[in-house]
Point group: C2
Chain length 80, copies 2
Amino acid sequence: MIQARVTVTLKNGVLDPQGKAIEGALGTLGFDGVGQVRQGKVFDIEMDGADKESARKKLSDMCEKLLANTVIEDYAVDIL
Amino acid sequence: MIQARVTVTLKNGVLDPQGKAIEGALGTLGFDGVGQVRQGKVFDIEMDGADKESARKKLSDMCEKLLANTVIEDYAVDIL
């Protein structure tokens, strides 16, 4: 059993209104010194088998096909 | 300038319909050997200053107050 974490984040330059809203809310709550905030997604995925390299390849494939919109998002695959 | 990543994930035992939907979609796309999928959120936050310990404390505070619902979610703070 392989436990993996896939992190999907917006590419630089892509507008992130949700991140901007969080920036504003943190300011309202009195947190100062907060710069840019960007929000992304994380997927914790369990996979059968023990071959980490084949799992990594499969997970990249999942990102390309379903988990990320590669026009505006980057993804990173970590095997834990 | 400190760059931090906050990861917010559902606690074990909390239902995750979005994760279940992704599990189903991966199956439909022909990915076999996929076990449980859980979705979470990630926040990339820039903070002024250079004191990592005080930044970590401030970020935990932000999680408690805004970024995470600690009834159903866990959070992790990483200073990059």
